[in-house]
Amino acid sequence: MDWTPLLLSAKLAFWAMALIPIAAAPLAYLLAFGRFRGKSVLDAIVALPMVLPPTVLGFGLLMVMGPRGVAGAAWEELTGGRLVFSFAGILIASLIFNLPFAVQPLRASFEKMDSRLLESAAILGLSPAAAFFRIILPNCIGGLAASSILVFAHSLGEFGVILMVGGSIPGKTQVASIAIFEAVEAMRFNDAFLMSATLIPVSFAVLMIINKLNARRP
């Protein structure tokens, strides 16, 4: 049996976990502390990937990230390579798909923070950006960890969106969930079973960690 899809899924999940705070933290910050017009609109846009069927989101991403789409054309201009059907492509798609799942717990932990800590930081001379890194993030480390690990778990089993923009290229975009699906379709039930049997305990362990983190948060 070929273990490449499982390793690829792990790699995708790891990168998604590592990179998601860069996208999620500023959005969570804006939604938690921002006072601006159109906040509810931003809120809805961020939550959109959660309600859209993955195939619909995936088709949209295929259009935008394809060489005839804005993002895809810019990427091709910059790197010479194609964004869809690449590891970077499925990673970006996963990040977008996972955004609401990461923003919600982060935002909740930001909102739980005592607002006077931020006022205190401002009085002591901290700019909003400095306060974000020196005060907010260190005090929301539990929320940050929970959101990242949730994204890890979610990416491990991610299927619909990757199916739409990945192109199932072995070693590049053929992640475990797709390999399992293909194995079932081809009636290679043994392969499908072995891969699933590996995926389940890993996912279970990750969920246990999330529960631990959530329980520990004050």
Binding site: D114, E119, I123, L124, N139
Partner: protein, 233 residues
């Protein structure tokens, strides 16, 4: 010198205050709760903007809506001690005190003076309320502020700690040589600490409020009690 002539529309009344505070002196601000004292402190700190008027400090305008000038809190160089400490939970006491300080010797001196040197490596959650409030004072003073704002800093403390901190503050007053604004509902404290006493009621200066309080025999059977009333009737 702090000069303020400001208005702010509040829910039940308009805050309209006009006063000045000299360096080296403590201005005790008294008045019933809900009188707008905390809003006044927040306006001076730059956490809120006045609707009109001018807040100026040492010849610099901090806030003046008419001319669009507003210096944000972080650029005012002042310190504020809240009623319940606002230490940063993830930092130990020494790091909290040194948070905005430039002179580390001053940090140590202050921690000695307030008796919290031995707590340097403790986290705020691990020490008592009194100790936390001492640390908050050290944090406020360690940055060498141009103005010190105190919003009922002693009200959550036990009597002994309160007395100690009051003594510390009085001792420091001359050395600091900055204006100190001290909001309190404890009249005895106001009299003990304040060089000037400013009474505020419904957002306005109420010079006779203190006088009226003193005239309430049931609440002050022996003159100024240590347990001053929280509310006026």
């Amino acid at each position: 010198m702090l000069c303020a002539d400001m208005t702010k529309r509040l829910k039940h009344f308009d805050l309209e205050l006009r006063f000045s505070c000299a360096p080296g002196a403590i201005t005790a601000v008294v008045g019933p709760s809900g009188a707008g004292k905390t809003t006044m402190i927040r306006l001076l700190a730059g956490l809120e903007r006045p609707d009109s008027g001018t807040i100026a400090f040492g010849g610099q305008i901090w806030a003046e809506p008419e001319s669009g000038v507003f210096v944000p809190a972080r650029k005012r160089g002042l310190s504020l001690v809240f009623q319940d400490y606002t230490l940063f939970p993830h930092l130990n006491i020494r790091k909290n005190v040194a948070f905005a300080a430039t002179d580390m010797d001053r940090v140590d001196t202050l921690m000695d003076m307030f008796g919290i040197r031995h707590l340097a490596s403790s986290k705020p959650a691990a020490i008592s309320g009194g100790e936390r409030q001492r640390a908050a004072f050290c944090q406020a003073l360690a940055r060498d502020p141009v103005l010190l704002l105190l919003d009922e800093p002693f009200s959550a403390l036990d009597v002994a700690t309160r007395r100690n901190l009051r003594a510390n503050l009085k001792e420091l007053k001359g050395e600091l040589n900055i204006p100190v604004l001290h909001v309190t509902h404890d009249l005895e404290e106001a009299v003990f600490l304040g060089d000037t006493i400013m009474a505020v009621e419904n957002g306005q200066a109420a010079p006779d409020w203190l006088h009226r309080q003193c005239m309430l025999p049931q609440q002050y059977p022996t003159g100024l009690s240590r347990h001053a009333p929280v509310r006026s009737s």
